[in-house]
């Protein structure tokens, strides 16, 4: 066993800590900083060496440590939070006191009823929300299906009649129409005139029916109540093609004037495949 070596170590340590008569001593602030751990390690180690060989300073350190501990214990007791149960008990007491001050209602809403009513309201709100969401979703679905149907009908009409959709296209303005008339005035061939007018109308979303034969024109006597649109409806099956009639008759009649009964204008003689 190392009993003797242990005794030797103890002897070395006793000798090393033998008190020395120091010429200077740390003040209370320094000792408090040491106790509080608020000191750099090098300085703390030097002070520890001093304390180890200075019984009076060591005694002062012990006294100060006890004082600090007592102070900390006192502060802790003052700062300690009360348990939650005690706080809750106090809280209930305060609420009960405040209730006494308030006027008593005619009927007391018992907590059970209050719970039932609030639960029922919550369930009702939830159901209303669910139903409204469901109805809203159904409406959206219906709207979507209507839009699809409309698009389908439009496509169907366009395909069957050969008339493309006019939705979203702007009709020609009078100034544009006048410019078109000026251009067609110089062209003698009605077919070329028809092509020019057709492309003009196409730019504005109005397509000519391919079945109409523009190479042969015939006279049409204006009937009472006839307008450019109604004549276009009668002879071209499309009132929106009235500018075409204006162009064809540009040399006979000013298109800005209304048609007069008994007046004669030129219209396409027939439709391809079927006489007018």
């Amino acid at each position: 066993m190392n009993k003797n070596f242990e005794q030797k170590i103890a002897e070395v340590f006793r000798r090393d800590t033998t008190p020395i008569k120091h010429t200077s001593h740390p003040d209370a602030a320094t000792l408090l900083a040491y106790i509080g751990g608020d000191m750099p390690p090098e300085r703390r180690a030097r002070l520890a060496a001093h304390l180890a060989t200075c019984p009076s300073c060591q005694e002062r350190r012990l006294e100060l440590t006890e004082l600090v501990k007592a102070e900390v214990a006192q502060l802790s007791s003052h700062c300690q939070l009360k348990p939650f149960t005690e706080l809750a008990k106090n809280g209930r007491g305060v609420i009960a006191t405040v209730r006494k001050w308030l006027p008593q209602p005619q009927w007391q809403l018992r907590p059970v009823y209050l719970t039932l009513v609030s639960t029922g309201a919550a369930v009702g709100l939830a159901l209303a929300l669910v139903f409204s969401l469901s109805a809203n979703r159904t409406a959206w679905h219906r709207l979507e299906s209507l839009e699809e149907k409309l698009a389908g009908l439009e496509t169907q009409i366009t395909l069957s009649l050969g008339i493309p959709s006019q939705f979203g296209k702007q009709p020609p303005s009078p100034r544009e129409l006048q410019a078109l008339l000026d251009r067609t005035a110089t062209i003698e061939d009605p077919w070329q005139v028809a092509l020019l007018v057709g492309s003009f109308l196409n730019e504005h979303g109005i397509l000519l029916d391919e079945r109409i034969d523009w190479t042969e024109l015939t006279a049409y006597t204006v009937q009472p109540g006839d307008t450019w649109e109604s004549v276009a409806q009668k002879v071209l099956n499309d009132p929106s093609l009235w500018p075409l009639l204006c162009v064809v008759n540009a040399k006979l009649k000013d298109p800005t004037e209304k048609l007069s009964p008994g007046e004669t204008i030129l219209v396409p003689a027939r439709q391809l495949g079927s006489p007018l």
Partner: protein, 157 residues
């Protein structure tokens, strides 16, 4: 006067080791140079410090067992008045002044570092490690044979 300065330097280093801190290398170098002119008894104190510093530098259980043993041995020195204010928590967080004079028992010293109070074997093992390291450090520092005073530990009972 030189011996007193070296003693103060030793005690400052013991405080660092007791707190689990690494002793500054410049302090050890100073001590190594100053130790050559000291008496054999003071040389032994220096060797013991270097041996402890070496074991502490290994870290882990060796360092913890060493700190417990040093607290145990240092607590036997100093005024016994400190025992009246025994606070193991304070000792576990403190250094040399906190354990001086507290006259710890081994289980108490072991408790301050968090090892089993009944682990007496730890004290025996660390004492033997320290003794062997002292022999090595003596030869390393002074070159010559180890004085008989140091070898007394080998005379097992």
């Amino acid at each position: 006067m030189q011996a007193e300065l070296v003693r103060e330097a030793r005690l400052a280093l013991w405080d660092r080791i007791l707190r689990g801190e690494e002793p500054p290398s410049e302090e050890l170098s100073y001590l190594k140079k100053a130790a050559c002119d000291l008496s054999d008894e003071d040389k032994l104190s220096v060797v013991l410090l270097f041996a402890a510093a070496e074991i502490a530098s290994r870290g882990g259980p060796s360092q913890r067992h060493l700190i417990a043993a040093l607290r145990y041995w240092f607590s036997q020195a100093g005024s016994a008045a400190a025992r009246e204010h025994l606070d193991l928590e304070e000792i576990s967080q403190g250094g040399l002044p906190e354990c001086l004079g507290t006259h710890l028992r081994w289980p108490e010293a072991a408790q301050t570092i968090g090892i089993s109070p009944n682990n007496y074997m730890a004290l025996k093992r660390i004492t033997e490690s320290l003794r062997q390291e002292c022999v090595r450090q003596w030869e390393k520092l002074f070159g010559g044979p180890v004085p008989l005073a140091l070898l007394r530990g080998e005379q097992d009972e």
